[in-house]
């Protein structure tokens, strides 16, 4: 038998902790999703009933739709804005480090704290946003109090909060690009726009894709801001899977049902991540 690596001792404690707080919950969730179990009562084995129930559950299906709409917008907008921001912060200018840090503040700030400030800004009567709208001659909006606008408002907060992360990933990419391609483009007399369009952006694509995957995972998981700003409301107009899940588990204490939702949610996250990587592989053949 091969002698075990001496480095195993370095990893062992972390493996134990990861097993306890990460792998155990996964296994437990999978197992519990097969039971009908409300906290305080006895658990009874029900097989896949929790899953089949979800198919006909209108509220759950709507929460899936809300999640997908929210995620699509909260990935697309930061990708465009964040890439643009990275191109700007890649230039040299006065106080660049400090300004870049200022730009990063939204993603570092405590989500609950900024969600509270946004809630006050969204207020239809006293909120500062309606005042700003009135300055440019637009009438007051209901913002998060309107069922039609609630998700859009939450997307706005999410874009504000997470565009910096895309910027950082793409900025890291820009710093690692080979200088030869740019020199070649310059030698051939390419304009700046042409260089950007045909050299920089294609070279940046892998980084943008990583940012897309990271952003998508985070957008699917968004909880704090939605919970604080709308609690999924008005009604259930902005209820995402995560909010629905939270209510099932910790307001109704339906552990079995909630566990099934977790498993479905997890499959969704993996499937969408896989889809993005598949798109990337495919796009390679066309280059």
């Amino acid at each position: 038998m091969r002698k075990p690596s001496p480095y195993l001792w370095f990893i062992a404690p972390a493996v134990i902790v990861i097993l306890a707080v990460i792998v155990f919950p996964w296994a437990f969730t999978l197992w519990m999703s097969l039971f009908e179990w409300r906290i305080g009562s006895k658990a009874t084995f029900v097989g896949l009933t929790n899953y089949t129930d979800l198919i006909g559950n209108r509220r759950f299906l709507e929460s899936v739709a809300h999640t997908l709409i929210f995620t699509a917008a909260a990935v697309a907008a930061p990708l465009v804005l964040g890439t643009a921001a990275a191109l700007v912060f890649h230039q040299k200018f006065f106080a660049r480090g400090l300004l870049r840090a200022a730009f990063v503040l939204p993603m570092m700030a405590t989500p609950v704290a900024i969600a509270l400030v946004w809630t006050m800004m969204f207020h239809p009567q006293q909120g500062v946003l309606n005042y700003l709208l009135s300055l440019v001659g637009i009438g007051p909006s209901e913002w998060v109090y309107s069922p039609r606008l609630a998700i859009a408002c939450l997307v706005m907060v999410d874009v504000w909060q997470w565009t910096p992360l895309v910027m950082l990933i793409v900025l890291g990419g820009l710093a690692s690009l080979p200088t030869e391609s740019f020199e070649a483009a310059h030698m051939e007399g390419a304009s700046r726009w042409q260089t950007l369009r045909h050299v920089t952006l294609p070279l940046l694509m892998p980084f943008v894709l990583v940012a897309a995957v990271v952003r998508m995972i985070d957008a699917l998981k968004t909880f704090d801001t939605i919970y604080v700003i709308t609690q999924g409301g008005p009604g259930t107009a902005s209820e995402t899977i995560n909010i629905y899940l939270y209510l099932q588990a910790f307001s109704f204490f339906q552990i079995g049902k909630a566990s099934a939702v977790v498993v479905v949610f997890f499959v969704l996250v993996i499937a969408l991540s896989w889809l993005l990587f598949w798109l990337r592989e495919r796009s390679k053949y066309y280059e």
Partner: protein, 273 residues
Amino acid sequence: MKTKLVDRLLLGLAVFLLVSPAVSVFLWMLSLAFKNEVDNLSYPPVFIPSPPTLNNFRAVFASGPFFQYLINSLIVSGSATLFALLIGVPAGYGIARMKARKLMMTILVARMTPAISFLIPLFTLFQLLGLTGTLTAVAITHLVITVPITVYIVAGYFETLPAELEEAAYVDGCSPWQRFRHIALPLARPGITVAAILAFIFSWNNFIFGAVLAGRETRTLPVAIYNVLTFEQIAWGPLAAAALLVTLPVLLLTLVIQKEIVGGLTAGGVKGT
């Protein structure tokens, strides 16, 4: 020469357009926190507090055991970060030297999992153990945030260290532990510092674990300010003041050591669960 000036102006404009929305929300938070309630509710809104008042902060401290919540947050995030360093730094070293990709994958998949999916099992487990509502339970769940961040950043940092020094030590008969303790560890200090700061910040910011597991006495700060919103008369000034107090340390930390933080974040696009 002229195009150069136009370029500078356009760049300046672009920077302004990017930074001002990011900053203005925080400025508005400051404004709300230092205005009296009449100004906070007036329309059109008052932007500059005149005169600035500290009454909102007094109200925050008077309304509840704010210091208790502050200490709770410090204990939870502090112990979760310390523990994560204790087990995460050696693990990061081991992973870097063993090239243990599977463990790294587990950590990445953990990042994909929504926090609530950890909460349901841990919540039930803590109920069995009678730990619900204790700081210990909250701190244990925060390991879900701090351990992956630490391992991820530190492993990445160890991988960038030159192998020559450790090889020389190996030839001289140093054990793996001695090589780690006396060579790799001192060299990795910058990476470990960044990991510790980010782990602490993301733990500090976490809301949902405390919201579910903490009792009245064991709330962390984000949970406490959320409860100000729901259970008391909504007064904007004190609410903004409380929000400011919670997030100000993080904002200052980001601005002061921005270079290191930005570097650490870029390393893997990491973020708490």
